[in-house]
Amino acid sequence: MADFDQELDASGLNCPLPILRAKKTLNAMSSGQVLHVIATDPGSVKDFDAFAKQTGNELVESKEEGGKFHFLIKKS
């Protein structure tokens, strides 16, 4: 996994909490910084893709590993 500035573990949380927590964490970060989100909600794969497209934050990476979903989001 590439470098990141902050990590958010949203394991066990269901829709829409992973997105809401991610948004809140991104709010406190500065432009260009990367957030690593870990989630177990299978719906989060499409949701983080949609979140990135609509907010302009870049989804640098999205993958499944060890039964968990990992997302790298670069704040715009």
Partner: protein, 159 residues
């Protein structure tokens, strides 16, 4: 790009139907939408400081019942005293175990994200609901005020 707008009318006051307005409002706010929710009739229950929301299997054939209870207790059995309280407790337990947020938590996230919550003044008066029972962030207005925002919204939902 101009900020998108979401307008929601929330009319229902049961635990299950409390979710759609708060899930959609909080998510839209996270996506950058400006959001207003207009609460009317039973939807006003969602604005109470301590919402006491329940779920009922009555008149709801689509509700999955644990342990095939709907087969053992057809229609009239669902009207037994205590059934609603039991279903509510089971639903809350299930939601907690699946990591689904509580209504209070989602509402708080909406408020943090500056979702505007408007109570229908007419129904507040109709039901003699004391304003002290509602959370402080509520504004009171009527249908015309809703249209002022809804008329310019990109998405408008009636729930």
């Amino acid at each position: 790009m101009e900020q998108k707008k979401l307008a929601i009318i929330a009319t229902k006051g049961s635990l299950d139907w409390a979710y759609p307005p708060f899930i959609l409002a909080s998510t839209a706010a996270a996506l950058g939408y400006e959001v207003q929710v207009f609460f009317t009739f039973y939807g006003l229950q969602l604005l109470k400081k301590k919402p006491n929301l329940e779920v009922t299997p009555l008149g709801n054939p689509g509700m999955p019942m644990p342990m095939g209870m709907d087969k053992w207790f057809p229609v009239l059995g669902l009207a037994l005293p205590g059934m609603q309280g039991m279903m509510t407790a089971m639903m809350k337990q299930k939601m907690k175990s699946k990591g689904v947020a509580s209504i209070e938590e989602l509402r708080e996230l909406c408020l943090e994200a500056e979702v505007k919550m408007i109570a229908c003044q007419m129904t507040v008066d109709l039901f003699d609901m004391p304003k002290a029972e509602f959370i402080d962030d509520v504004e009171y207005a009527g249908a015309a005020a809703f249209f002022e925002f809804a008329g310019e919204s990109d998405i408008c939902l009636y729930i």
